[in-house]
Symmetry: C2
Subunit: 348 residues, 2 copies
Amino acid sequence: MTQPSDKALVPFVSVDNMMRLIHHVGIEQMLRDLAAYVEDDFKRWELFDKTPRVASHSDVGVIELMPTSDGEAYGFKYVNGHPKNTSEGLQTVTAFGLLADVYTGYPVLLTEMTMLTALRTAATSAMAAKYLAPKGATTMAMIGNGAQSEFQTLAMKAIIGLKSVRLYDKDSAATEKCARNLQGLGIEVVSCKTPEEAIEGAQILTTCTADKQYATILTDNMVGSGVHINAIGGDCPGKTELAAGILSRSDVFVEYPPQTRIEGEIQQMPEDFAVTELWEVIAGKKQGRTADRQITLFDSVGFAIEDFSALRYIRDRIKGTDYFIDLDMLADPDDPRDLFGMLQRAKG
Amino acid sequence: MTQPSDKALVPFVSVDNMMRLIHHVGIEQMLRDLAAYVEDDFKRWELFDKTPRVASHSDVGVIELMPTSDGEAYGFKYVNGHPKNTSEGLQTVTAFGLLADVYTGYPVLLTEMTMLTALRTAATSAMAAKYLAPKGATTMAMIGNGAQSEFQTLAMKAIIGLKSVRLYDKDSAATEKCARNLQGLGIEVVSCKTPEEAIEGAQILTTCTADKQYATILTDNMVGSGVHINAIGGDCPGKTELAAGILSRSDVFVEYPPQTRIEGEIQQMPEDFAVTELWEVIAGKKQGRTADRQITLFDSVGFAIEDFSALRYIRDRIKGTDYFIDLDMLADPDDPRDLFGMLQRAKG
């Protein structure tokens, strides 16, 4: 068999290699690196081709493709969302992603993105908190102690210097799991029996629960002034976590308004409800937190540009390492018109 | 390192394995099999979720995602189109595809699709010709002798019993390449110096040229009555191959009208130009060829369902073979909420 050309090979990062890469770089360093890549891309937000995600819905879940491009690279993520999967021993969300060269159309990276999405989501939250949380915030309430909770906690530690996390989940086994995982990682962990207990003394309130319903994880009277709310779990139509009253009292920051108005907490609010785009804060065009008593709210639903940043980072970071294998994914005959000849020569 | 679970592994068919599989099955048998899968899916056309392709355009090309679903499986193809690539020694079109389980959202197949698209395009053309070409058609003019030409010829041989092909390309090197590749494959090959010579005595006229322009590969006076035109190359906005006069005299059959009116030969015609959907002919709802003197025209642009059929076929066909490898692409911890614990346990 003739060897495929270099261009026919696409570097592939498996789950195993992604985990090796994360430990090689260090989780906290990688969260900082990812936050820096996301921040860079948010600064050049206007450059990007922003397509809404392309969703295929069924009774039990959704499969989505999230493409974007900065004109030089093109990236997309495949991601499913199946809330019932957990009860069947499967992940609610799995993902993989691809980066391609816009000039040739040839893919240049294929990678698992279940782990990577967990990291980029946490890195984005912490990057937003850097601009929006009260200065010197040291304590976070983490409500919902599922797959995202440890990553959120470590990102806040790595990026804004969080010292203490207060855990709450309606399922105490989830809290125990999260507390156990965070042990020995240099952060104080307090397990709480109620959401009210969890938010005591916290300057950052992170909500990340999984139920697909209009839930009220935080009621209006639970949220005092001067806090930053990092709302992760309200991320699709019919799934919210915050009482509408909180939204009215908060300054709300979002990734991409056309998407967030459908998928985020603000789906509860009128269409003209005022929001600030996070990229404008990061680019210095709008103000983030302006007063101590202000309630800031990052209504996060996840956006394709964050995945693009993560894909860029992995492409750059694996160079010269052995944390990938080359996949023979593209047919690349010597004479481009001679695909059939390539096939015939492979015979025997 | 712990072994990933079965569900975390996605079978991957490389270019090399695809070529091995094609030779194992036999090219002509595989073309017949693919045509049967496409035909089955065209018969249940109404079941499918039909999203227009999601395109990201640049100055030099386009990158597209083509998703579809029948409610049980979900498939998409990544495909680029870069006409300038050929002059740089690269493929104009490269592709890969993925099939997933709608119920879990988990991918079940990743495969190269450059080779596979060449096969499914040819299989679809021949399947259409089975319904539309004059009965007993034995001779085809093949105008445009690029990467698709040998596949088109063999599919017509395998599926409708073509005996003779008459080749023409404005680049005689392409014709020589095609003629050489078809040697010894059981079909008479006649190389021609003009398109007029190529269409002499042909009952099927296939056009498959690459220039992105409003070209006139077939002029109105070249096309007599009683032929079937298989128009492959007019497949994006601004790229056509047939004189408008031919369209007016033909009964035009298309895959998916909203897409073909933008991308196909009929982009030259008014919006209400009458067309028949090919699936309706195959499902017995509409008539195909009804008279000897009729000119039938399959205005083919390629549709996501054809890729879906090809993905289904590969999924079914590789079972029990070694024409794939398993990719560790999905993070699948024992406890779905414990993604972080999985990462921690991978340390060291």
